[in-house]
Symmetry: C2
């Protein structure tokens, strides 16, 4: 049976998690579904939990992450603030290819694995 | 307050953890102290826990990791098998500089963090 490398990455502020794969997925799901309720549904978590996570991230970052637009056709949509968009973009850039890099490093160190 | 990248790495076999920073530290402590009891003392864990972890790693890897030498001056010493030495060496090679690489990637993605 083969040995396999595993890795996990996240971002902290003041010793607390502020961004992780899961948290960024949650923000992306808000963008794609247009609401926290839609994001919660997509990620199979409760609305309460999704909302709580967003609030926690906002508090830990000291930033507002979501803005709700009222009215318009089909009612309001929730979107990311420009700061949140920037954070999501940066996180995706940070994460892109990191797993592959770790896998490559593992292959170099464990040639027979 | 600054954002900081965090990362964690480990190695699995058949979906179970076999090597991690902590597990490799345990093996290295056996080498340095010459016994599982000495390693447990150094890592501030019980002998039972240290021994249990070694046995768990051996079972999951399907390899013997430790050999005890009887007798000699000052009694027996416990050492790593050649296979365990190779795994520790490979793990250290795998881990060397990975955190720095992640930090660098983070700096590229979050230039203002």
């Amino acid at each position: 049976m083969k040995l396999l490398p595993r890795s996990k990455f996240w971002v902290e502020r003041g010793g607390e998690v502020v961004l992780s794969d899961w948290r960024v997925q949650l923000l992306e799901a808000v963008v794609e579904t247009g609401s926290v309720a839609g994001a919660a549904h997509r990620l199979h978590i409760s609305y309460r939990r999704a909302w709580g996570k967003v609030k926690e991230m906002e508090e830990r970052l000291g930033l507002r992450l979501l803005v709700s637009q009222r009215g318009g056709r089909g009612g309001g949509r929730t979107r990311l603030t420009p700061e949140a968009e920037e954070l999501v973009k940066s996180y995706r850039k940070f994460r892109a290819g990191l797993k592959e890099l770790v896998d490559w490093r593992f292959g170099e160190a464990f040639p027979s694995a």
